[in-house]
């Protein structure tokens, strides 16, 4: 028996002695091409995007995201059914005013539940050193998480809009009507994107402050919820105390109250960007209950500053986070 053969026999014997578990499969090198940094970041984005919907995280993690997504799609479905049953009727749901109250509730829950999944878990489990010990840079991590969560929020907001659009254009007749719907869809998508950008960056920043999932959910949910309530209450008080804006401009309190909450802020931005109603035309729809008065540009500015500040804050957080 050659030396090699006896060595192999020895290996087999030792493998058998291990209780049948053969670990000795030999080590295989990896000599093929490796991904570059950009591709690794892309892989992390895809992984985190899936995680936001509970994919790859067990059955329980999927319940809420899917439930919320279905909820967000309901108005589009109801609208499509309504149009199918009453051909020729006006769509009940608009693109830019896509059931704002439902959207507030659904997105609030989605951001509060899923942003912690993207960042808090890695903080709590001290998984970050495993990422930082790999060929990405430190800020690639928050970048990937931000892009992933932005895409997740976009999916939550824009897919229902696209379903709404599909439901409407299948019922209308003629290219001109389809084109008209397409033109209306554009601003709705843009407005949805503004929601996604602001909520994704704010949500991740708040979630990254703590590794405890429950705390992170509270850190997101409580400010978002109560600021929304407060903004609406103050706007109401403004109307009650200083009279409705029946004739001139609404009161300052009512106009500024919307700045308090991200949701009413977004509504204010939409109100500001909407074309002023033509004289004698139809009244402006109460899209988000946000009254902006003369402060429309301020809403735009606060939106920009808040979004940028949240993104900068998120990156600053990960510049400082310990590696072990």
């Amino acid at each position: 028996m050659s030396a090699d053969a006896s060595a192999a026999a020895g290996r087999l014997a030792s493998a058998a002695a291990d209780g049948g578990v053969i670990h000795n499969i030999g080590y295989r090198r990896y000599d093929a091409a490796r991904l570059g940094r950009a591709q690794i970041v892309r892989a992390l984005i895809w992984h985190s995007f899936r995680a936001a919907f509970g994919i790859g995280r067990g059955a329980k993690a999927k319940i809420f995201p899917i439930l919320l997504f279905v909820l967000m799609c309901l108005p589009a479905a109801v609208n499509a059914i309504g149009l199918a049953l009453n051909p020729g009727s006006t769509p009940a749901v608009t693109y830019d005013g896509y059931t704002p109250q439902l959207r507030v509730v659904a997105m609030l829950i989605f951001v509060a539940l899923e942003a912690p999944n993207l960042v808090s878990n890695d903080l709590r489990n001290h998984t970050l050193p495993l990422y930082f010990a790999r060929p990405i840079s430190r800020l690639d991590y928050p970048l990937a998480k931000l892009v992933a969560f932005l895409l997740a929020c976009l999916a939550m907001i824009e897919i229902p809009l696209l379903l709404l659009y599909l439901g409407i254009v299948t019922q209308v007749h003629g290219a001109s009507q389809v084109w008209e719907q397409t033109l209306q869809l554009g601003p709705g998508l843009l407005y949805g994107a503004a929601w996604a950008v602001l909520l994704a960056s704010l949500g991740l920043l708040l979630a990254s402050t703590t590794g405890k999932r429950v705390f992170a959910i509270c850190a997101i949910g409580i400010p978002l919820f109560f600021s929304y309530i407060l903004a609406n209450v103050l706007a109401h008080i403004g109307q009650q105390a200083f009279g409705p804006a029946g004739f001139g401009q609404p009161s300052t309190l009512t106009s500024l109250a919307g700045l308090i909450s991200p949701f009413t802020l977004l509504g204010g931005v939409l109100r500001w960007l909407e074309k002023a109603p033509a004289p004698g035309g139809p009244p402006v729809r109460e899209v988000m209950q946000t009254t902006v008065g003369n402060y429309g540009p301020l809403y735009g500015a606060v939106f920009l500053v808040l979004t940028v500040a949240a993104i900068v804050g998120l990156f600053a957080r990960y510049r400082k986070v310990g590696v072990a």
Binding site: H23, R28, R29, A33, A43, L130, F132, A133, P135, V323
Partner: protein
């Protein structure tokens, strides 16, 4: 293995071209008060190397500098010929890192985690899946790999940590206290695994530990640091030979035994509940056996001491044994 020469820092010997790790005058200070590494110059050859030091000696800091995660205050370091500050990306592609502390999410399976981290190491999706399965099999977790990590024992979690370090096919593994939290059997298994990776897989390993007795079994070389300074870097043989001691415990008659061993020229010293003698050769065992047998004492323990680094490099038994036995003297 080396691809480019390391620039030489002033005042230090020239870099070793065959070294997997080469540190020159490495200093890391946090603020003005804390010095984690203090002018550390050391060269690590391929093979399994133990990085020995008490807690807080600077082991983890050194590893993080080697990974390019921390910048040294002064000095230079190179891993596999790549500068740690300038080429962190390359180094982290070629290096697998096993952190000291818990770092595993409990709610994913080992396969999912290791596959994902394989992708993060730059493997394409298919290769990441294959190598994750391979790595988990190498560490002995093949059957359990579809279970959530939260259900694993500490030993299994340590194996997952090792598997994720291995998944990217590294040329060098940096293992920070891999036996942390393991029971004796788990420690032995983990050490065997590390030794196998070092010898059969041909991957160089730097394994940090505060337990010399543990990793001396598997290391080719030892690097001992204390308070951020190099105590000694040498092959394992030359390092431990001069310091082997034998602990003897008897249930009764300790004084008698001490006197008898002194007569036989062993110079025993009281240590805890037993005696400590210098282990010169196998004959020492015989001498002790004869002494115990002649006195008819109930021998309860006789073993080669597992040194803890503090004892080997500092006071305690070394001081007690002193010049006469010449044990454990490292300047």
């Amino acid at each position: 293995m080396i691809t480019q020469p390391v620039r030489q820092a002033g005042g230090h010997p020239p870099p070793d071209p065959g070294a997997v790790i080469d540190a020159r005058g490495l200093t890391k200070r946090y603020g003005t008060t804390v010095t984690a590494l203090d002018d550390l110059t050391v060269s690590v050859e391929p093979g399994v190397t133990g990085l020995i030091g008490a807690n807080g000696a600077g082991k983890s800091t050194l590893i993080k500098i080697l990974l390019g995660l921390l910048e040294p205050t002064t000095g230079k370091a190179a891993v596999l010929g790549h500068d740690c500050v300038a080429d962190g990306f390359v180094i982290r592609t070629l290096t697998g890192y096993m952190p000291e502390h818990d770092c595993l999410p409990p709610d994913v399976t080992a396969t999912e985690l290791v596959t994902h981290l394989g992708r993060m190491s730059g493997l394409p999706a298919t290769a990441a899946r294959e190598r994750a399965a391979d790595s988990l099999r190498h560490v002995g977790l093949y059957e359990e790999r579809y279970r959530q990590i939260g259900t694993y024992s500490t030993g299994m979690k340590q194996r997952v940590k090792l598997a994720q370090a291995l998944v990217g096919d590294p040329r060098l593994l940096l293992l920070d206290e891999p036996t942390n939290g393991l029971d004796p059997a788990g420690r032995t298994a983990m050490l065997e695994l590390i030794a196998r990776i070092g010898t059969e897989f041909g991957i160089s390993i730097l394994v940090a530990s505060h337990l010399l007795g543990e990793i001396e079994q598997i290391c080719d070389q030892l690097v001992a640091i204390d308070a951020g300074r190099l105590l000694r870097a040498d092959s394992i043989r030359s390092m431990t030979q001069a310091s082997s001691v034998l602990v003897i415990e008897v249930d009764e008659g300790l004084d008698l035994l001490q006197a008898d061993l002194s007569r036989r020229g062993l110079n025993p010293l009281p240590y805890q509940r037993g005696l400590l003698v210098q282990l010169a050769s196998d004959a020492t065992y015989d001498t002790v056996r004869d002494a115990v047998a002649d006195l008819g004492l109930p021998l309860s323990r006789m073993e080669q001491r597992r040194h803890r680094i503090e004892e080997l490099f500092r006071a305690d038994p070394a001081e007690q044994l002193g010049q006469t036995t010449g044990a454990a003297s490292v300047s």
